[in-house]
């Protein structure tokens, strides 16, 4: 264990670089995050000072403008990275600005923009959110708030805070920044989950469940950070990677710190896999996706998944990249469990939101195969998959918001009620059918290209058994996607059939974007895919570059 010399405490204390010099921070590179943060703070101020009647329009405009502006800034920065370079880090190496981070941030911002459209949808003064979340469900007070038309416009700043956390989560380059990002991302989401307008107790239960399990997993994550810090003497990803190469920080004899590192990797893995929703850390997903207001579910299923995978990829590719042989079996097991169990359980689901939740778990398993590949192709495949899946899943949830049990009723979650939807509203059912086919990975949809890219990367990395499991799991998932299509198009409409409410302009455009992206990314994937896959010619020009995968180190 630790060498017993009197100089040890001094060595421990002197290891972290505590500087008293003020750090230099490049605010231009941080600007996409600062814009979103500023808008969120401004949103809180609006809540305090602007009269209620004018808040919604103001908040929505601010949130949309902020995400759009942040997206433009992200793209500008992507363009300013010199060709052949991965990017740079700033704020003492705690935030990375590289191609991977910028691509994922851009994806998150676009998806958040679409989600905001869904969140803002307002039919006759009725949004998806509770009129006054503090009132007891079913009470007289609640009724009076509903009649008065109260609204929680706090939703918009909360979403912006969550988006900020997601942006930072993908770019965090040391464990502490990553933890803060994790919390900034999660806390608003916990709250947003409990704000559903209908079935409020259910929604609040989901929020509490999400919060408790999330806090639990954060604790694992934090403990893992502590152990890795103990092993490496630093929380910075690049330093951790160097420490692994060197066999641990200087106070360890050769290899004696290995257990610390392994347990640390496992615990950090638990924290991240929880956010991703991989089996066996997936239990929150169906409950939360079902209970949360559907627009928020769309936000979580797309943006949060992108952010969580961004963090997972960065941690395992950069910080733990040197000990790939140690963590690969772990992720291998998790990926297989995820793909098999979630697919099997999903078959038995009777509720559309739960089914989409389990399907999201299965897709997480497919993407994990790309993480296991631990190659530039795997990274590119996973990133493409994330973007493709995000657009499709928002579209699917947007459709869920439109199918109600009756006019002015709650959403019709029961799949049995969806029978015959293809007859009554073919356009809507057709869009959903396209999304489901994309989930199943049918060619000419984005889902096929994504699945193809990750499977190809995993096979190239020698994980063929994993891909075989993935293929079998794909077939199982195809079963329940196709079953919904059959239900919609070939079943007689039920007596108590659902009512499809007219899509407002906001929801309609969210669905339209989803359809367009699903189709375009499926037919012409090259513009996106080519930017992600390292070009062979560049590889030849710079042999054995450490940054061939686009991460800065």
């Amino acid at each position: 264990m630790i060498t017993e010399t009197s100089s040890v405490p001094a060595a421990v204390l002197s290891a972290p670089t505590i500087t008293e010099q003020a750090p230099h921070i490049d605010y231009w590179l941080l600007s996409p995050l600062l814009v979103v943060f500023g808008a969120a703070v401004l949103g809180v101020l609006f809540e305090a000072l602007v009269p209620q009647a004018r808040r919604r329009a103001l908040q929505l405009g601010l949130a949309l403008a902020a995400t759009a502006a942040a997206f433009v800034l992200t793209v500008l920065q992507g363009g300013s990275i010199p060709a052949g370079e991965a990017g740079t880090t700033l704020a003492l190496g705690s935030v990375a600005v590289d191609r991977v981070a910028l691509f994922l941030q851009g994806t998150i911002l676009v998806l958040a923009f679409i989600s905001l459209l869904l969140i803002a949808e307002n039919r006759r003064g009725e949004s998806a959110f509770a009129a006054q979340a503090a009132t007891v469900p079913g009470s007289e007070e609640e009724r009076s708030h509903i009649l008065a038309g109260s609204q929680h416009t706090e939703v918009y700043p909360l979403v912006l805070f969550a988006v900020l956390g997601m942006q930072l989560f993908t770019a965090a380059n040391d464990f502490l920044t990553m933890f803060i990002a994790l919390e900034v991302m999660s806390l608003p989401l916990y709250l947003l989950c409990g704000l559903a307008r209908r079935r409020r107790l259910f929604s609040q239960e989901a929020a509490v469940k999400y919060f408790l399990l999330g806090a639990f997993s954060s604790a694992f994550f934090l403990f893992g950070i502590a152990l890795v810090y103990g092993y490496a003497g630093s929380v910075n990803f690049a330093r951790v990677s160097e420490a692994i190469d060197a066999g641990g920080a200087s106070l360890f004899e050769d290899g004696s710190g290995e257990p610390l590192l392994l347990i640390g990797i496992a615990l950090i893995g638990v924290g991240l896999l929880f956010k991703v929703g991989a089996v066996p850390f997936h239990n929150w997903k169906p409950d939360v996706y079902q209970g949360a207001p559907t627009p928020i579910t769309a936000l979580m299923a797309s943006c949060t998944l992108v952010a969580a995978f961004g963090a997972l990829l960065r941690v395992f590719y950069t910080a733990f990249g040197a000990s790939v042989d140690q963590w690969r079996p772990m992720l291998w097991t998790v990926a297989i469990l995820t793909m098999v169990l979630a697919a099997v359980v999903a078959v038995t689901q009777r509720d559309i939101k739960r089914l989409l939740a389990y399907s999201s778990v299965v897709h997480a398993g497919f993407m994990l195969t790309a993480v296991v590949a631990a190659s530039p192709e795997g990274l590119a495949g996973a990133m493409f998959y994330l973007a493709a899946y995000g657009f499709t899943t928002i579209g699917a949830f947007a459709i869920v918001t439109l199918v109600r049990t009756h006019e002015n009723g709650p959403e019709a979650g029961e799949l049995a009620q969806w029978a015959g939807l293809g007859r009554t509203s073919p356009l809507l059912a057709g869009s959903l059918a396209l999304f489901l086919l994309a989930f199943a990975g049918i060619p000419l949809t984005s889902g096929f290209i994504g699945k193809f890219a990750v499977f190809e990367a995993a096979m190239a990395a020698g994980a063929t058994p994993l891909v075989v499991v993935g293929v079998l799991s794909s077939a199982v998932t195809a079963f329940f996607y196709v079953r919904i299509i059959v239900l919609m198009f070939f079943s007689e409409p039920a007596e108590t059939g659902p009512t499809v409410i007219r899509a407002g302009g906001l929801t309609g455009s969210a669905i339209a974007v989803g359809v367009a992206a699903t189709f375009l990314l499926g037919v012409f994937p090259s513009p996106v895919l080519d930017n992600l896959v390292p070009q062979p010619s560049e590889e030849a020009a710079e042999p054995a570059v450490a940054t061939a995968d686009g991460f800065t180190r």
């Binding site: 264990m1 630790i2 017993e4 008293e20 750090p23 809180v44 101020l45 305090a48």
Partner: protein, 119 residues
């Protein structure tokens, strides 16, 4: 490992003291209950009546608790800044002002939305 031995010993002694004093007190001490003794202790003032059936605290306590956090957490950041004020210079000053502005925005929100009104 030997480095930590004294800490462990101290911890063991502390735990033993708690256990021993509670056990001895429950065995040796006199037990005479009355109404006042059985009530919840709230710093000597009249205990706030609790709603029947659930023991829920009214939401007002949480609002106050949140207000407490707004002002309490500030100290943790202000103190080290004050200690290293000279070295941090203008950068530190700007950072701290921004931080305080952010905190006061949260305060303004609570104030405007009625968080400070007890009734």
């Amino acid at each position: 490992m030997e480095l930590y031995a004294p800490v462990l010993v101290l911890g063991a002694i502390g735990a033993a003291f708690v256990v021993v004093s509670m056990v001895v007190g429950s065995i040796a001490g006199p037990k005479r209950y009355n109404r006042a003794k059985l009530q919840a202790y709230e710093c000597g003032i009249e205990p706030t009546p609790q709603p029947a059936g659930g023991g829920r605290f009214t939401i007002k306590y949480y609002l106050t608790a949140m207000l407490f956090i707004v002002f309490d957490i500030e100290i943790i950041f202000l103190y080290p800044w004050a200690v290293h004020f000279d070295e941090l210079g203008l950068f530190g000053l700007i950072a701290m002002v921004l931080f305080l502005v952010n905190v006061s925005i949260a305060y303004a929100y609570e104030w405007r939305r009625g968080g400070l009104e007890w009734e």
